[in-house]
């Protein structure tokens, strides 16, 4: 009892302080509003008027609307909600009583603590216990299986609405289904939804009602560094210094003065220190600037977040998740200032520990009844196995322990959740943010997110980084794209240097990987990197400046690794047709080759330079394994004419060479001549290749411009919603099915309908009625068959009569008839005969079929589901 009393006293003191603070703050606020008013009106008002106004202003009371302001009542039709929303089951009623009892005892024992957040009203104004509002659900999306993606989804999907009263928990706590429908909610709604999802996917998660910092409560990230801007620090791997082997040579003796070195080091250190100091000061200044003004309500702002305890799902350590921002924090974070209570779908715990030092010293062992007062007995949390020392403490606490549970049934457990199944449609899941768009402001950065396919250029995310805290000067922009036909993935624009860098995923028609440029005009500074495995020529990278082009290759069979081309200024062409391309003249081509292991080093060219204007070719060979110098050869390509006008084919001074190991055959003019002829051909080839590279650059630039203009989006063939072709096909299939169905329905006309209509509607058939119905139906059908036979008979007779008449008439007037009339008569006769024959056939057929049809109908009637019960017995 001692301990408890002390604790209570402490809490009392804290409460008192708090109350004092609150009062002070209220006063301050009042004063502030007043002064603001004053400063506004000062110019016009006199002192008296002012006082008058003051009085009147103080008398005005702001009535806080009791309803949730953000929920549009029209959006949710309360009547359409399931009955569990609007009523309480007996078990829930019982639970509410228990909660009420618990709450009363609690307020009696701890009168200075704020009332518990136990049974808020739901959207139907029905009090519901918080634990039953949690509806553990495992979402059908594999992306939502882990806590990070799950919390990110909740934070994206809902829009945050601040609490009406930042100092009190809300009166209402809506079901997650309603919240999902509105896509709006306060921190309690966020936590409830997230907690439901986390428990559903197997985490040991709890909703926490407590106190948070201003930034946390208002979802203010402007003092946070955007996680996307944080550069991942490369782990510098300390290269393990190989142990000096037994015979490692000693380094040459160091002959420099140690003293001088020391002095120099000292000087450098000093400079470095000063630099560091300056930097630190600057940093501190910056930090001070950024630091928030102290919050007058610090420690009083109510917040609700999620606690994930270690143990389940291989969570190694307990941590908090702020559902508004989806950030995870350690349980010792400064943002969380205190905990009142926490709950999951099974139980409710009150924090009995002191939160003087935020949550840093809290122990999240919910089985410890001294630290966490539970509401329902029989939870799955194991009780602490107490040691001897703790025994008397426990005895002291017996009163509290027993207070909640004396009357209640020991085995009482939480009733099932009243909330309907939480459902997220695939559409909603893809769209994520309300209307598919979300903007988050960070410190010196702004992040915009869109749902895929929302923007027709495929933009899904944009990060703008600013230079200053007020976000006015743009430093750089990063744009992420998805589903683009040109596989553009990320566009990075540096506003200061004007440098654009486009990153592509594999699959671009030109195998482009990275393209960085300042302008899309050709012959400007640019770097293109390629997926070298896709390219046949093994090009990795091509760098361009106005007068040079450098290409890097990899994995070529001719071992070319590097080509550098220097261009000269463009020569003005005199010809009129400007359409013809006028390439810049090449001045110099440098090519480097990797070592070809099949050739000896002296014959394997490492670098060759074609000095095109000077008509010179320089070769540098690879260095031999145990040499430090390499052979060199220089050819003068100029063809000269000797004094007699004959062409000089080759003279010794046309080839200057230095050979590491002089060899006989290379001294020969023939060898040199052949080498030179070969090189001349190679030069032609290289020039051609350089020209082709230029063309390719132009082509890529053209293609890129076209792609940028068109910005086509690809649609996966599995995307049945967007893929037009499959949609059409599917719709066509559906239409065909529908038509087929219609035809079937038509063919099954109800032969009983006219007879059923005669009977009084809504009544069940009696057996007598059924039998009569059947008989009527059959007799009716018989009548119809007879009628039909009679009809055919009548027609037949009529036709024969007419024919007879005509024949009579013909025989009478046979002599006088003209040939035309005779023809007419004959044709009439033949037609009439045809008709008669047909009628005769039909009659015969009808006579044959009529009994069969009658029998078929009878049988059908026996089997008719409406009559079968009665008729069968009868038969």
């Amino acid at each position: 009892m001692e301990v408890l009393r002390e604790k209570v006293e402490e809490e009392e003191a804290a409460e008192r302080e708090e109350a004092a603070e609150r009062a002070e703050w209220a006063e301050k606020m009042e004063r502030m509003t007043k002064t603001a008013e004053v400063s506004k009106e000062e110019t016009i008002m006199t002192q008296d008027e002012l006082r008058d106004l003051e009085k009147r202003l103080t008398s005005i009371e702001i009535s806080i609307p009791a309803e949730y302001s953000f929920i549009n009542k029209s959006l949710i039709d309360v009547t359409k909600l399931p009955p569990s929303y609007s009523t309480n089951s007996p078990k829930e009623e019982h639970l509410l009583q228990v909660a009420d009892n618990f709450s009363r005892q609690y307020s009696h024992l701890c009168p200075d603590r704020v009332p518990l957040f136990l049974c808020p009203l739901n959207e139907c104004n029905v009090p519901k216990f918080v634990s039953t509002t949690l509806r553990p659900t495992l979402m059908p999306y594999p992306e939502l299986y882990n806590w990070d993606s799950c919390s990110q989804f909740v934070s994206d999907f809902l829009t945050m609405v601040p609490l009406l009263d930042p100092l009190k928990p809300p009166k209402y706590l809506y079901s997650s289904t309603t919240v999902l429908k509105c896509q709006k909610g306060n921190c309690f709604d966020f936590s409830t939804l997230l907690c439901s999802m986390l428990i559903g996917s197997g985490y040991d998660a709890y909703c926490v009602n407590g106190y948070g910092s201003l930034d946390l409560c208002l979802m203010d990230l402007t003092r946070e560094v955007c996680p996307l801007t944080v550069k991942v620090k490369e782990v510098v791997k300390e290269e393990e210094k190989a142990m000096p082997k037994k015979y490692t040579v000693k380094p040459p003796r160091d002959l420099t003065s140690k003293f001088e070195q020391e002095q120099e080091n000292k000087r450098l250190q000093e400079i470095k220190n000063q630099e560091e100091k300056r930097l630190r000061e600057a940093e501190e200044r910056l930090l001070a600037e950024e630091k928030a003004k102290p919050d007058p309500l610090h420690g009083l702002r109510v917040h609700c977040w999620v606690l994930v305890l270690a143990g389940k799902r291989e969570v190694p350590e307990s941590f908090f998740i702020d559902p508004l921002t989806a950030h995870s924090y350690s349980t010792k974070d400064d943002h969380f200032l205190g905990i009142e209570s926490l709950w999951n779908h099974k139980n409710y715990w009150i924090n009995m520990q002191d939160c003087w030092n935020c949550c840093k010293e809290l122990v999240f062992d919910l089985g410890d009844p001294v630290r966490w007062e539970y509401m329902l007995l029989g939870t799955d949390k194991p009780h602490l196995s107490l040691t001897e020392e703790d025994e008397d403490v426990l005895d002291d606490d017996d009163d509290i322990d027993n207070l909640g549970k004396e009357e209640e049934d020991k085995s009482f457990d939480m009733p099932p959740s009243w909330v309907a199944q939480i459902e997220i449609t695939p559409d909603e899941f893809e769209t994520r943010c309300p209307n598919g768009k979300k903007v988050i402001r960070y410190k010196r950065a702004q992040l915009e997110k869109w749902a895929p396919y929302l923007n027709n250029n495929g933009l899904v995310c944009r990060l703008t980084v600013y230079e200053d805290l007020q976000c006015t000067k743009v430093l750089e922009i990063k744009e992420w794209y998805q589903n683009r036909e040109d596989t553009l993935e990320l566009k990075h624009i540096n506003k200061i240097t004007g440098l654009h860098v486009d990153y592509f995923r594999p699959g671009h028609p030109q195998a482009l990987r990275v393209h960085s440029y300042k302008s899309m005009l050709p012959e400007m500074d640019r770097v293109m990197e390629f997926y070298e495995k896709i390219r046949v020529d093994g090009l990795i990278k091509r760098e361009e400046t106005p007068l040079t082009m450098t290409e890097y290759y990899q994995g070529r069979s001719d071992f070319l690794s590097y080509r550098h081309i220097n261009f000269g200024p463009r020569v003005k062409k005199l010809t009129q047709n400007s359409a013809e391309s006028n390439p810049r003249p090449m001045v110099k081509i440098t090519e480097r080759f990797l070592r070809n292991p099949a050739k000896p080093a002296d014959e394997d060219v490492a670098e060759r330079v074609f000095l095109i204007v000077e008509e010179r070719i320089q070769l540098r060979y690879h260095c031999r394994d145990d040499y430090i110098t390499s052979s060199k050869r220089e050819f003068l390509r100029r063809t000269e004419v000797d004094s007699k006008g004959n062409k000089i084919i080759m003279t010794p001074d046309m080839c200057i060479s230095f050979e590491v190991e002089p060899m006989e055959h290379t001294k020969k003019l023939l060898y040199q001549y052949e080498t030179m002829i070969h090189l001349k051909n190679e030069e032609k080839l290289s020039r051609h290749q350089a020209w082709e590279s230029e063309l390719e650059v132009l082509e890529i630039l053209k293609l890129r411009e076209e792609e940028d203009d068109a910005h086509m989006l690809t649609i996966s063939i599995y995307d049945t919603k967007r893929n037009e072709k499959s949609k059409e096909y599917r719709e066509a299939m559906e239409r065909v099915l529908h038509e087929e169905h219609m035809r079937q329905v038509e063919s099954q006309l109800d032969y009983l309908a006219p007879f059923l209509a005669q009977l009084p509607p809504g009544e069940k058939l009696t057996r007598w009625q059924a039998v009569r119905l059947k008989d009527e139906c059959l007799s009716d059908f018989k009548q119809r068959l007879i009628d039909k036979a009679n009809l055919i008979q009548a027609r037949f007779e009529k036709e024969t009569q007419e024919l007879q008449k005509k024949q009579q008439w013909y025989q009478e007037n046979q002599v006088t008839l003209s040939p035309e009339d005779e023809d007419l008569y004959l044709s009439y006769c033949s037609q009439a005969m045809f008709r008669i024959r047909i009628l005769e056939q039909r009659l015969n057929r009808h006579k044959e079929l009529a009994p069969l049809k009658y029998l078929a109908l009878e049988e059908k009637l026996y089997k008719d589901p409406r009559l079968v019960d009665f008729v069968k017995v009868f038969v």
Partner: protein
């Protein structure tokens, strides 16, 4: 063989003929002019065509070291000769000649295409050296025995074979036989072999082929076994403990020991000998094991040493390369500047600068080299000391083990002597129960004889042991000396080479600069 050339006299392959042929078949046009101007060395020729020349004897080809293709078809050559030096030959055409036997091709290991059609060859042989043979033409010859085909089985690269118009080609099963016995062949007599026909023939000849294959496999296995054993012995020899892993030494001790063998028939000697042998062999095995272990240790030591030396040299080389590259960059700029400069004093100033740069480079490179030499010397000395110590330790331990052998021998000798004297006494007292062979009994005439006999046996044994020990010690010592000598020599060679290289490079640079100077002066 009636030919239009028959009327002509046989010609001799002399220098003139070859020269003419080389020039005719050499480069043409502009390059030809150059070639004519300079002359072509025979050893630069890659391909030579000498057909329809009525050559009787192949001669004077020894200079064509790098020849790859030689055509000697349509001559009247009677013997294959004079081709020993043409080891790079890939293609040899000797068709339409009067050759009667295949010979003189043993050095042409690179030969891939051999044409001997239209000759008078009766037997396929002497081709064993031609492991790369792919195409063999033997059409229109006198080959009559079908077993010649089996000889061709050893050429795993052979893909094309021509044997038409030979007596064997007349045989009914000629093709089937070849299909079956040469499974890798693709073309026979200018035709691609039909797979089905091949399968059919294989089935037909399956039994004989399987048998042959089995024999071949056995042969190969035996060869491999032998090779492995040789290798093993080689390894043991490297460790200087060959044949110590068994009773070899012990047996060798008794192989020349007549008296010892005689004495072994004495009663009680048998068991003695048995225990002696066991103990002796155990010591030998100890030496063997120890030797292997030491060898491993030495090799590891040598490897570390080599690795470190290589590292040091490589590092030094990299530094040198870097220096040279830096210098070249700077030098190129300087030269260009000089070329563009028109002011004479300026040129001279710059020339001097350049020349200074070259001298600097020389100094830097030489310093690097000297530094390396010093470092290596020190390391080599350390290694020398360590390896000598190791060898010394090894010798010492082996000697102590050998001393155990000797002790055993002494012990054994004493026992034998005792037995011998006892026996002698018994014989003298006529108490001898068993019968002894006559030659043994001859030893027991008096004490001196028997002691001498036992002593002689003992001496032989000791001599064997001493010899083995000496062999081991001299072996390892000479190995050590050789190794160290080699290391020192290599280091000297390396140093010389580098110094030469540096000097050459510097000279070249300097002369280039001088040329430039001259050129400039002439220009002005």
């Amino acid at each position: 063989m009636s030919r239009p050339f028959d009327s002509m006299d046989p010609k001799v392959m002399d220098d003139d003929m070859l020269k003419v042929a080389v020039v005719e078949q050499g480069p043409q046009e502009e390059a030809g002019q150059l070639a004519k101007q300079e002359g072509i060395l025979f050893k630069d020729v890659r391909s030579l065509q000498l057909d329809f020349r009525n050559i009787l004897r192949i001669d004077n080809l020894w200079q064509f070291e790098n020849l790859q293709k030689l055509q000697l078809n349509n001559n009247i050559i009677e013997r294959i000769e004079g081709l020993e030096n043409l080891i790079h030959l890939v293609w040899l055409d000797l068709s339409f000649n009067n050759i009667e036997a295949i010979e003189g091709l043993d050095t042409l290991v690179n030969l891939e295409d051999l044409s001997l059609s239209n000759n008078r060859i009766a037997k396929i042989d002497s081709l064993d050296a031609l492991v790369k043979l792919q195409v063999l033409s033997l059409g229109n010859n006198q080959i009559g025995n079908i077993m010649n085909i089996i000889y061709l089985r050893q050429f795993s690269c052979l893909r094309t074979l021509t044997l038409s118009e030979n007596p064997i080609a007349e045989a009914e099963e000629y093709k089937e036989f070849i299909y079956a016995y040469l499974p890798d062949l693709v073309y026979l007599d200018f035709r691609r072999i039909d797979e089905q026909a091949r399968e059919a023939s294989k089935l037909k000849h399956q039994y004989s082929i399987d048998e042959m294959k089995h024999r071949e496999a056995l042969m190969r296995a035996r060869l491999e076994d032998e090779k492995a054993q040789r290798q093993m012995l080689e390894e043991h020899k490297l460790a200087f403990i060959e044949r110590l892993n068994g009773p070899f030494l012990f047996n060798s001790m008794y192989s020349e020991d007549v008296e010892g063998n005689k004495l072994s028939s004495l009663p009680g000697v048998d068991e003695l000998l048995e225990t002696y042998k066991d103990k002796f062999v155990i010591i030998c095995l100890n030496i063997f094991e120890y030797g292997l272990k030491q060898q491993e240790k030495r090799m590891a030591e040598l490897d570390t040493f080599n690795e470190c030396i290589q590292d040091a040299i490589r590092e030094n080389q990299e530094q040198g390369k870097l220096k040279v590259t830096k210098f070249e960059e700077k030098h190129l700029l300087n030269l260009n500047a000089i070329r563009e400069e028109s002011d004479l004093p300026n040129i001279e100033k710059k020339l001097i600068e350049c020349s200074d740069d070259i001298t600097d480079l020389f100094n830097v490179l030489m310093t690097l080299e000297m530094q390396l030499v010093e470092q290596l010397e020190e390391t080599i000395n350390i290694f020398e000391r360590n390896i000598t110590d190791m060898v010394g330790l090894f010798i010492e331990n082996v000697q102590s083990l050998m001393a155990q052998c000797r002790d055993l021998e002494n012990h054994h000798h004493e026992k034998i002597l005792e037995i011998a004297i006892n026996t002698l006494e018994k014989i003298l007292k006529n108490e001898m129960d068993e019968d002894l062979p006559d030659d043994v009994r001859a030893l027991f005439v008096d004490k001196d004889t028997i002691v001498n006999a036992v002593g002689a046996s003992h001496d032989i044994h000791l001599l064997k042991i001493d010899n083995r020990e000496d062999e081991l010690v001299t072996g390892i010592n000479s190995w050590c000396a050789h190794l160290l000598d080699k290391i020192h020599r290599e280091e000297i060679v390396r140093n010389r080479k580098r110094v030469k290289e540096i000097n050459q490079y510097i000279d070249h640079m300097q002369s280039e600069l001088d040329n430039l100077e001259c050129g400039d002066i002439i220009d002005i």
